[in-house]
Amino acid sequence: MRQDYVIEVEDLCFVRGEKVIFDHLNLKIRRGAITAVMGPSGTGKTTLLRVIGGQLKPDSGRVLLNGKDVCTMSRDELFRARRDIGMLFQTSALFTDMNVFENVAFPMRVHTDLPEDTIRDLVLMKLNAVGLRGARDLKPSQLSGGMARRVALARAIALDPDLIMYDEPFTGQDPISMGVILTLIRDLNDALGVSTLLVSHDIHETASIADYLFVIADGKVIGEGTPNELRDHPSSRIHQFMHGDPDGPVPFHYPADDFRFDLLSEVE
């Protein structure tokens, strides 16, 4: 029986050096929905994706992917499990020695025995879905940031994964590219029936397509709900984050001595 949740993070603790990134974090990603994890910069959103993908091992806790604990998988099991995950990095991470077509064909060539003409058709379908069929012969260095991200998206869906994870997909995009990526994320989720996990700090864009949001800070989930529920959330921290207020529980000023005292003090 298929479970309701594609990912279940249970009691996750992750410490890097002296810094506690996750402190008994709990969250569940619903199957078939677009779930966003949001939070200020440096709260460990990308780290969370890497822990879910098994690239980082947590200090304690469990991460269940389709009911199986990623943290206890062997190397081979992990590599097999990752074939059901599509991932879009913030940098797009296209293979620079391959053109657009070869980039999208790469996962198919490595993981399937499909004949070349079938691979060609599939790649063209994926590229057509992101609107870049005509750019198939270009090298990554010839693409704009937005185009590179769309190619990376076509590559991420090459093997029709169960789950697509997006790491800050809107960062550095112009308004047109932003609109295209927003539409693609929503359409691909609905058309392919995949589950989507998106981490971002772009509130308006994320809230416009997400079905469910988690806000994390200080290593914990400080709020969750639909975008509308979070906009009217009683917590002042969530209110500040959702409305982008410059001052609030997260202060505008970095902790310092009294301003008047600072001004009147002698130059050392």
């Binding site: 190397r75 590599f79 990752r82 995950i85 991470a93 996962p107 990376a152």
Partner: protein
């Protein structure tokens, strides 16, 4: 004092950790047996690591062979022993200079390129995305380069030896006028196939293993920043060169030492 001890201890432990990571990576990559369709990865590496190094190896070999012939001829002709130029040239090249200079040039040209390429792939998250696609970068990226280097360097050493001897012939025989018959017969009688050519190639294979290991590890383990990549590339050239010279001493001691 306590801080100093702590720092020394920390650094020592760090070195052992690095060595441990490098050994694990080496074992995993060396166990790679190409599947159908993966042979092209190896062939491409042999081309870019080996074939593209032929020009620099050839030019350097010719120059070294020519200089050696000049030196040998100048010294030996004082005693009327010009016929020994061929023997001396061949023994020095086959036993020592061939593998050592090829190793040093290989570290500078191919080793640094391997480190920079893998380092750049790491910096731009290409290795990470490969892992996330369920493709092991150790099999796909590291192993073909490691094996490509191990296959290429002994072949480059053989090319180096041949071109250097030719350089010696051009200067010693054709220019300075040493007797061709004496040159070749002296070489033929002095060189033992197993003792000189064989042991020289064993050295080349060991240097190949060391240089490519250092190069792939430095790239794979580098800090994913521009500065980290630069440091890793420098470390590859410096570490490989020092290791080649140090290992050469011990290998020569083992192979030819009379004790």
């Amino acid at each position: 004092m306590e801080n100093l001890l702590r720092r020394i201890g920390g650094r020592t432990l760090g070195r052992f950790q690095t060595l441990g990571r490098a050994t694990i990576m080496w074992i995993q990559a060396m166990g790679w047996i190409p599947k159908t369709g993966e042979w092209s990865l190896l062939i491409r590496q042999v081309y870019s690591i080996g074939v593209l190094s032929i020009v620099i190896i050839g030019l350097s070999a010719f120059a070294i062979g020519a200089v050696l012939a000049l030196q040998f001829y100048t010294q030996l002709s004082r005693f009327g022993a010009e016929d020994a130029v061929g023997a001396g040239l061949a023994l020095v090249l086959l036993r020592e200079l061939g593998p050592v200079v090829t190793g040093l040039l290989f570290a500078g040209r191919a080793g640094s390129a391997i480190t920079a390429e893998i380092g750049l792939m790491k910096t731009t998250e290409q290795l990470s995305i490969m892992e996330m696609m369920g493709v092991d970068p150790l099999r796909r990226i590291v192993a073909p380069r490691l094996w490509g280097g191990i296959i290429s360097m002994p072949l480059l050493t053989a090319i180096f030896n041949m071109v250097a001897i030719y350089g010696g012939v051009v200067v010693g025989v054709q220019w300075l006028g040493a007797d061709a018959g004496g040159f070749w017969s002296g070489m033929q009688s002095a060189v033992e196939p197993l003792e000189d050519i064989g042991k020289g190639m064993v050295k080349a294979a060991i240097f190949a293993l060391v240089v490519t290991w250092v190069a792939v590890f430095q790239g794979y383990d580098c800090e994913p920043t521009a500065e980290g990549m630069g440091l890793a590339t420098t470390r590859t050239v410096v570490t490989s060169s020092v290791l080649i010279l140090a290992i050469d001493f011990f290998l020569t001691l083992l192979m030819y030492g009379d004790f």
